[in-house]
Subunit: 438 residues, 2 copies
């Protein structure tokens, strides 16, 4: 099947593990069958390929996630890059155009469009495959997945089918009702809308021709910042009379808060966390190199990352956003196309960073106007280029770079170094990039 | 007055702020009258001098506390250094010998002996002054302070006076009774034993002559590791028939657990800590450079330091010790005679440390067998000496030192540098010290 995974933007509800530059789908807290930790995006990708090894997976996302996607899924992953953030309709149209115009998928083929972050089992992807098959048959313009509600939630949209059968035509949609109304929907056979649907590529491309004057992928990509911010539901689904829904009764969890995320953790404790015997219903994730000790806590989540420390009552965790919005902390950890950096120390006129380059990768060739830098290689081998001069480096080597000096490092093996930045106005914006003639 | 402050050993009950090398009395969490933070030892020292500007203060402690005492109280502070840890009787005998033989205080003068870590107000030190005056008059061999009990505690020793007067002869001592017995003691006029007493120096020195064959300070110091481990209470107080007790009814708090410590904090939050509106009775101390956010917590203490993170129910906090004993974390922060160091990063073959030297101070001239080091100065000015060669250094300078190379740095202003240690077996024990001929 063709599957387009919509990988949404940054989120603060899972701070300190998610923030402006680190999205929740990249947090490695789930266990793989062989005992490693994996992120939501890794889990979903692994599950898709387990169900359909031939699946064509395309991820629709913004530029800021490319590095994390390559680091977590590999360089081969297909990404439909949104030049800026519009809503889901432009994103899905661009991804459909990418599949058709760039990857050469025929217009008549169907695709399943699905968020990247549901916490589900393989039966979910088996249902997606069924959805894809239905769409491929083309008896209906649009086929949705409807999730069997487990309680009258006020936070989801509801799909109202015309009958209670496993496959049914759709009579309407309702957004976030109150609990009593939700209960009535459920009694009438209403289903949660998980934002999953399948259709032929031509269906999306036709809507894009109508609404976005789509001619081809390049044109759409180039005009992307001028496209309207409009959701697929609003632009397409609500105007489509010919919709079918397929019920799904398996596990489906929307992991949007620490409370719901903790329910999905196979192990309550990740990292160096110790609980005394009087703790109950405590989940904790520790990304730091020092231990967490918890005593006498109940129904709580503790999370420590380079960005900060959260201790929250589980039920209270859904109210986190305004508190995180008020935090004006510089970003301490980031995944880059070449590896990652971790801020170790911040002083008035210096910043110390641990830089990790993946094997075969290199930074941009760049310079800074307002800071000097000192690199001390602590492990691995590679080459540095400083003002055009290349030299091999290994653990123990020190490279000093005055402001204005052009520099880069190329990792042969995994290479780590301590970078000391020195200057009055240290800023990520102080950077000039150059082409490198090797 | 002469006052000997007994500064006890390391404590784990206030982990992660106290540990094997950082004692609770050095944690800066109390507010001075002018709004700065001060430690217990700074608070007690300030209070003594406020009550008696002429007080002669001597601190009896082990070698490991000298740097912290100098950093917190100044270089002028008198310290009676115990070459190793024995119990309170040898420590008090050594301090009395130090006052008499080294500082020239006459044997007939009295001294007050007092733990360094009670959380009290100035009226406590006014009571100590009264105790000292009584001891100076010499009508009784030993004068104790008895603290008016506020509840029938099972964890303190009780002094039983012969009557209920403010000053009374003592009829006996009882250790840690059960609550019912404690209640009976209180009804009979019993008082908590806060470990405070006053006597003439000759009284202590006579006991030391009898029990430790004391001849002079140097002899006692040299033989210190052979002295018996015996408490002053056991060796002296329990055998002394002529004891008077002075009642003290002011504030006295024994700050031994996070629960009791939090009661003494003038401000509930120290450092970057944010609480949501549903938190109640939460105290938090954050020594890290990133924020702590707490939501929906009640009756809890949160503490984050370079050594680790504690989240505990207040009542539960008194059971912390076995959990901290089980933590085998290397020391991440330490005060040194010349300043401090903070471990920033630990990898298999490297360790990165931020070194801060106080103005006018220097490290030992030293070398390592098994590691190379790179210093990058990030602020301040000073001089380095590397294999005998001296050069001035300032922010941005880089010094590389191969294993075996002798090196030191002398701070002119406050000087900070990032030290990258490189080698397979990095250990604090890998150090040779040398005399420096300047």
């Amino acid at each position: 099947m063709n599957i387009i995974l919509l990988s949404g933007g940054s989120g603060k509800r899972l701070w300190p593990l998610s923030n402006d530059i680190r999205s929740k789908q990249f947090i490695k807290i789930f266990k793989t069958p062989d005992g490693q930790y994996e992120s939501m995006v890794q889990r979903v990708y692994r599950q898709i390929l387990a169900v359909d090894p031939e699946a064509t997976v395309t991820i629709a996302t913004g530029k800021s996630q490319i590095s994390a996607l390559h680091n977590q899924l590999g360089e081969q992953i297909d990404i439909s890059v949104e030049p800026c953030r519009r809503d889901t309709f432009p994103a899905i149209a661009l991804a459909a155009a990418y599949l058709h115009d760039v990857k050469g998928v025929p217009e008549e083929e169907a695709a399943v469009i699905c968020p990247v972050d549901p916490y589900v089992n393989e039966d979910y992807f088996e249902a997606l495959q069924e959805l894809w098959t239905l769409a491929q048959q083309g008896t209906t313009n649009l086929t949705l997945m409807g999730i069997d509600p487990t309680y009258p939630s006020e936070k989801y949209g509801y799909i109202l089918p015309v009958d209670h059968k496993r496959r049914s035509k759709v009579s309407g949609f309702k957004e976030k009702p109150d609990a009593a109304t939700a209960q009535q929907y459920i009694e009438d056979g209403g289903l949660w809308n998980g934002g999953v649907f399948a259709c032929r590529l031509c269906y999306v491309l036709d809507r894009a021709r109508d609404l976005l004057a789509y001619t081809d992928y390049t044109d759409l990509y180039d005009r992307y910042d001028t496209l309207p911010k409009i959701s697929f539901d609003y632009a397409v689904v609500e105007h489509e009379p010919d919709i079918e829904v397929l019920r799904f009764g398996g596990q489906w969890k929307d992991i949007g808060t620490w409370n719901t995320l903790s329910e999905a953790m196979e192990e309550a404790l990740v990292g160096d966390v110790r609980l005394d015997g009087t703790c109950a219903n405590v989940h904790a994730i520790n990304e730091l190199g020092v231990p967490i000790l918890a005593m006498g806590l109940r129904n709580a989540v503790i999370t420590a990352s380079p960005e900060g420390i959260l201790v929250t009552d589980k039920a209270q965790s859904s109210y986190i956003k305004p508190y995180v919005d008020a935090i004006n902390q510089q970003v301490m950890f980031a995944e880059k196309s070449w590896g990652s950096y971790l801020v170790l120390d911040v002083e008035d006129s210096s910043m110390t960073v641990k830089v990790t380059l993946n094997p075969g990768h290199r930074m941009n060739y760049h310079s800074h106007d307002h800071r000097d830098e000192v690199w001390t290689v602590i492990s691995g081998t590679g080459r540095t280029i400083v003002d055009g001069m290349e030299q091999p480096v290994r653990a123990g080597d020190v490279i000093t770079m005055a402001a204005g000096c052009r520099h880069t490092v190329i990792a042969e093996t995994k290479l780590q170094m301590i970078e000391v930045q020195l200057g009055r106005d240290i800023s990520a914006a102080d950077k000039h990039k150059y082409e490198l003639d090797e």
